[in-house]
Amino acid sequence: MPDANGVINAVGRKVPLEIDGRHYRPYAGVFVEPPKEDKRRVGPRLGTILHPGEDCMVSTLREAIERIELKDGMTVSFHHHFREGDKVLNMVMAEIAAMGFRNMTIAPSSLYSVHEPLIEHIKNGVVTCIEGGSARGKVGRAISRGLMDRPMIIRSHGGRVRAIERGDLHIDAAFIGVPCADTIGNCNGVKGPSACGPLSYALADAIYSEKTVAVTDYMEETPVIPISISQEFVGTIVKVDNIGDPSKIVSNTLRLTRDTVNLNIAKNAVRVIEASEVFRNGIRFQTGAGGISLAVTKFLGERMKKRGIVGSFGMGGTTESMVKLLEEGIIHKILTVQAFDQYAIKSLLKDVNHIEIGAGFYANPHNRGTAVNLLDVVVLGATEIDIHFNVNVNTHSDGILQYPTGGHSDTAAGAKLTIITTPLIRGRIPVVVDDVVVVSTPGESVDVLVTDYGISVNPRRQDLIDQLKAARVPLKTIEELRDLAYSITGRPSKPDFMDKIVALIEYRDGTLIDVLREVAPGR
């Protein structure tokens, strides 16, 4: 029953139907058909033409901003392929602030602690709204404590592209940091001193925004090869000294965890995969870059080799661990949406069977074909998971916003087997709880939880329970794991929240799956 405050959605969360001038349908399920509507994909206005002999170069950022005719109240976007090594967002926003713009909306695909200067821009009224993936570090903490008047929108990778294509997120100017560009706008991310790998998170921005500005620190002869973003979509290019800190963009090498407990979790995750029906020739999987994930990739490769199984592709979040599987012939191909180390970048550049895919190809639920639907298995993390298998990846247990949804809810929806790996408790914080602070990924799409204290299968998946029992994999109920967690840590109090909504958690299909409220001041 809707009231002034909203309705209860399909994961039991109360969400508003209208807020900050936006209208929302409540989350209704993982694969609910969107209402039939007479809408088209958006596109930039016609009229920008490049004549023979012209190029798109300007000498300074200021010139670029003037050339694209930026105005107060407009929306500018950025990608996060440079992670903590990013310099583009801060550089562009500093110039926008210096030029006196106000009331801007920014749409970064994610924010990192390096983007702390945004706090000043928010305080000064330069930025009044953020539509993004999340906000790490001080920015996230400040938003949680009510820094902004308007709520932040949090979307997954797939949800962001859906929103862009439908026009929910209208980008006036996309500022794309590109490691390698030419003078008329072809770009890639695999060459140059600030190489980051793919430019997947920027592709939709380039195609659908009104104006696209490529910011680069390295140029090559026209046309650059490979072409990740085409000259057809880039209208302005500016070369600066440095767009990112290479040591923070990707690691030289990611260390496999030596922690016995994490290794055991990884081994058990692989045990679950091996016992399930998806473990066969042609398997298609995705892992990540955290300590447990790297170990999962390695152990899975070892088991596949031992049992003579060859995978169709690995997808990620790509790391050296994954590339080694390709090199050893254990998988045929890699589809990359983000590179985490130098090894992965080199492989993307050199190996024909290692390809870059855009975020829409990867995860947009409302297009004609998306890669996450091909996955047999995905291994993911969580900050919290509740007894309905709902997962929180956006906040800490105390309600402070910190992490992006990323591809979490996208892959969980698409994959046949979704496994969450996590320690049962972190310090004194229980990970398995009665209710998560926010629902980022609904339990309907989560199948198995693997912790250091035991494995639990979502009761919806009787087929999996049977397969694991047949393979003598010991199982616990999720309630048993919760009880175990609380018996060690004690039952935590619920964090105190105020009434003000500081973030809207959109599900990938544009419905509202949860809201995050302002954290009450400390006692």
Binding site: R258, T260, V261, N264, S487, I488
Partner: protein, 291 residues
């Protein structure tokens, strides 16, 4: 059959985070240490922490041992504090003679617990090795004697090597003393935790000498130690075959059974039975005898 003690690992008794990891490491036993890993000013703090930890934490199947300080130092105060919490075993460092064991036994009896507390004398000196048999026999609560290789090497003025030649004799004496007394023999650590091959070879060697387990200096060593001390599928199958053959021979009244061309006499049957008991304890599949 006594508890499996293939692996044991020391946890510093004054570090909550390390103690809490105990149940997760997969070792057969953890030793909450009040001795070498605790500085003199913190002995009291460690005593309280370990006592509370034993009462509050659930260690599951893992055996909970406490290494007290030497009885000549504050070992008696350690016992007075931790025994009421009900540890599974007390590790007595610097064990050199039967008196030490008897003092600990007395303290255990006086604490009036309803559960059994085992005594594990840690022998780490020349004198201790020479008295190993009397130490092992000093109390029915002694279930194993353990070897402290580092201190022993220092005591005899030798130098530690990867191959362990300098401790061979000490190790051997300990095994002989233990088995003569009917208790387990447990070995010292292999200090280089980056050397997995070295660990595997050394552990195989001490298993062949008759040791029932060894200590780990780092959690990453536990899996390898267990691999060496866990019967393989082939070993279990062979054990099953041996026992079956012996049963058949007994049934026929004929003297001796033969398996794979080898005569099966009593020691071989006993070893086979021990392997089966370990396999059962570890919940490993026990196959049918081969025809």
């Amino acid at each position: 059959m006594a508890r499996l003690r293939r692996s044991r690992i020391y946890l510093p008794g004054n570090r909550p985070r390390m103690i809490q990891k105990g149940p997760l490491l997969g070792a057969d036993a953890v030793i909450l240490d009040l001795e070498d890993s605790v500085s003199p000013e913190e002995k009291d703090a460690a005593r309280f922490l370990v006592t509370h930890a034993i009462k509050a934490l659930n260690f599951g199947e893992t055996e909970v041992m406490v290494r007290i300080n030497p009885l000549s130092a504050c070992g008696l105060e350690d016992l007075a504090a931790v025994l009421p919490a009900g540890p599974d075993a007390i590790v007595v460092p610097k064990s050199e003679n039967r008196q030490g064991v008897q003092i600990v036994e007395k303290a255990i009896i006086q604490s009036n617990l309803s559960k059994r507390v085992a005594i594990l004398p840690l022998i780490e000196s020349a004198k201790g090795i020479l008295n190993a048999y009397e130490i092992a026999c000093a109390s029915p609560l002694v279930e194993a004697i353990t070897f402290g290789g580092e201190d022993f090497t220092q005591d005899i003025g030798a130098t530690r090597t990867r191959e362990g030649r300098e401790i061979f004799w000490g190790r051997s004496m300990l095994v002989i003393a233990a088995k003569a007394a009917g208790v387990q023999a447990l070995d010292t650590v292999f200090s280089d935790f980056n050397d997995e091959e070295g660990l595997r070879n050394d552990t195989l060697a001490i298993k062949q000498m008759g040791f029932d387990g060894r200590a780990a200096i780092h959690p990453s060593q536990i899996a390898i130690i267990h691999e060496v001390f866990t019967p393989t599928e082939a070993e279990i199958q062979h054990a099953v075959n041996v026992i079956r053959a012996a049963e058949i021979a007994r049934g026929k009244g004929s003297g001796v059974a033969v398996v794979k061309g080898k005569m099966i006499d009593k020691p071989i049957i006993q070893r086979a039975e021990k392997i089966i008991r370990i396999a059962e304890r570890l919940d490993l599949p026990i196959p049918e005898p081969e025809a």
